[in-house]
Amino acid sequence: MRARRLPLALLALIFALGLAAAEAQQAALQVPFVKIAIPVDPGWTGWKAAPAVQVPLMPQAVAQPWNLTPSIKQLRVQAVHNGTWIAFRISWKDATKNAVMYTDSFRDAVALMVPVGKAAPIIMGGPGERVLILHWKADWQEDIDTTFQDIAQLYPNAWQDWYPFVAGEPPYDITAWTNPEARRYLTGWVLGNPRSQPDKRTAVEEQIAEGFSTLTTTERQSAVGKGVYADGAWHVVIARPFAAGDPNDPAWRPGRSAPVAFAAWDGGAREIGARKAISDWITLKLGAVGR
């Protein structure tokens, strides 16, 4: 196991930030019932009437590496449910859209976290205290909105004469890599790493964790979502059934309260992984199912 000692000053900082966040915390988020198919589009007109809270963010400063000055300071969060699905609309200001990654560039992202049981530590859960994490990624959205970010998209002027075991013509689009001998070179794809899949079905990855370093993609992927960048801001919807028949279904349901927390990454500020801004837990007040 990793041996890490947190300096006292740092603990004090975390404590102070935690208090600051608690003081600034808004009233619980009211989640009204809507009698329609769950809205996955951030442009759905009904969002205008949905209650919103401003969720303040603080730096993640427990697990290395951290960034004590993350660029996203707060999120505007709304949510609605239709009895079986819940949808969140998360908005934040971001001066640059970062949706494509090269070696030295990173993408924008946002995530929400819900305890699988009644409660869990804010630090991505803990041993035996599992959390469900729904993570929207701008690069996956780009794959869906345009096309998979292959060499021809990333480097329009690149030319490769030949790849072994791949038939066809340059630029040998990745979907043409049907020969198993060729696919062996595409490690992440053949091993099922969600990042490497050319055929993205959703921009949201559903994951579980029991503390830092344990983030794991779940076998069953039930979450959907869509992000739109407009006028210097991201507007992202993340939706999931309350119950997907999954052992990792949270204990949330209509008519009750449930905790949720958020994290956001500004790719333009090289934020990725542990370098992120996080919220404290806030309370969802889920409206009863109406007629």
Partner: protein
């Protein structure tokens, strides 16, 4: 942070994980005096492992010309600059390693190479530096410039920076052979390892969106075969084997002999603190200051030992076993009486036997049978 023993810097140091040496450690020795920069190793590696999508500019093995070359550009000088001036006292490094110089919130000093830094694998190729201050190495013709080729692969470090940096612990060092691997199913492409490795040997695949690195040809090593870059080297400058810690070294084992017994093969930038396991016989015709910064305080001794090699039957014998067998040599022996050297597998069976001196053949200037004259008659 844990405290671990790093013999290359002659002291204990801080590392994020407790020390746990593998049962055997993958290692190799590259003789820089013999490298001609032909890139056969590079192509052998490239065609074996990195011909997939997103690997177009990815070289797990590269050969760069020092002092100006570098892949990624400036991997060494930028890291040295970030670390700042540091000190050795004899064989003990009294400066700070990359782990010990870590800023708050980071496990070590890092640097993310820029996209274009990976786009010039042969930058500086064959460019020479200035003259030696003790005069030109060659006196005829006037030839006052120096340069040398530096072939590089992953160092499969004892204390890998990539392992220390991965927040997901998706990189691991195999206990059976010390080879360091990125788990391609768990990697999330955060590039903390790309920033952490001072040797620039973890690379990002922008199509698969995960990081990749030299795998030490582990499928070959598992079958007792040396890696592709070693077996294809036409200059026979490389030998791969298993290296023991200094207190368990055995002089009949090739790596132990070169690194611990004769100390003729040196670590690359030992001051970084990673205890890398690719060792170099330093080039004899390069200014010592440059070499000492690169290979540490053992430089002068290594060059002296190397230059005396003709009088050292064991060293001479082992150097002749470089590149002569594809199998991993577990032990070797020199036979001065017959002028031979032999390498053995783990069961003591002879794998290869070579003459240290090629036999002379004298042939007549005019070959009457073929009715030809010979220009080369020895």
């Amino acid at each position: 942070m844990a405290t671990v023993k790093n013999w290359q810097i002659g002291r204990e140091m801080e590392y994020p994980f407790p020390g746990s040496r593998p049962r055997r450690q993958f290692a190799a020795v590259f003789d820089l005096n013999k490298c001609i920069g032909c890139q056969t190793c590079t192509m052998a590696c490239k065609t074996t492992w990195t011909v997939g999508k997103g690997q177009e500019y990815m070289l797990w093995n590269n050969v760069e010309t020092k002092p100006y070359g570098g892949y990624p550009l400036g991997w060494d000088v930028t890291r040295l600059e970030r670390l700042g001036p540091q000190t050795w006292e004899g064989d003990r490094y009294t400066g700070k390693t990359l782990f010990e110089a870590a800023p708050a919130g980071e496990p070590m000093v890092k640097r993310l190479p820029e996209e274009l830094d990976w786009a010039h694998p042969n930058a500086g190729e064959d460019e020479a530096a200035g003259t030696l201050d003790r005069g030109a190495y060659f006196t005829m013709p006037v030839h006052g410039m120096w340069s040398f080729y530096l072939p590089r692969i992953c160092m499969h470090c004892t204390y890998p920076a990539c392992v220390a940096a991965c927040p997901r612990q998706a990189i691991y060092k195999r206990p059976e052979d010390g080879i360091v691997l990125v788990d391609q199913s768990r990697c999330r492409g955060y590039r903390e390892c790309v920033q952490a490795c001072p040797y620039g040997k973890v690379l990002y695949n922008p199509v698969l969106r995960i990081s990749q690195k030299c795998i030490g040809c582990f499928p070959a090593v598992e079958q007792g075969t040396q890696p592709r870059c070693v077996t294809t080297c036409i200059g026979k400058i490389r030998l791969m084997g298993f290296l023991s810690p200094p207190d368990q070294a055995r002089a009949d084992r090739p790596m132990d002999f070169l690194v611990h017994a004769r100390k003729v093969a040196l670590p690359l930038y030992p001051q970084f603190g990673l205890e890398g396991n690719i060792y170099y016989i330093p080039p004899v015709n390069v200014p010592r200051g440059f070499l000492r910064q690169m290979f540490g305080p053992g430089t002068d001794g290594a060059i002296e030992t190397y230059l005396r090699g003709k009088d050292d039957p064991e060293l001479l014998g082992l150097l002749h076993l470089f590149g002569d067998a594809k199998e991993i040599l577990e032990s070797f022996r020199a036979f001065p009486a017959t002028g031979e050297a032999a390498g053995y597998d783990g069961k003591g069976r002879e794998i290869v036997r070579v003459p240290v001196k090629e036999p002379d053949y004298l042939r007549p200037f005019y070959d009457a049978a073929r009715q030809v004259y010979r220009h080369n008659i020895t």
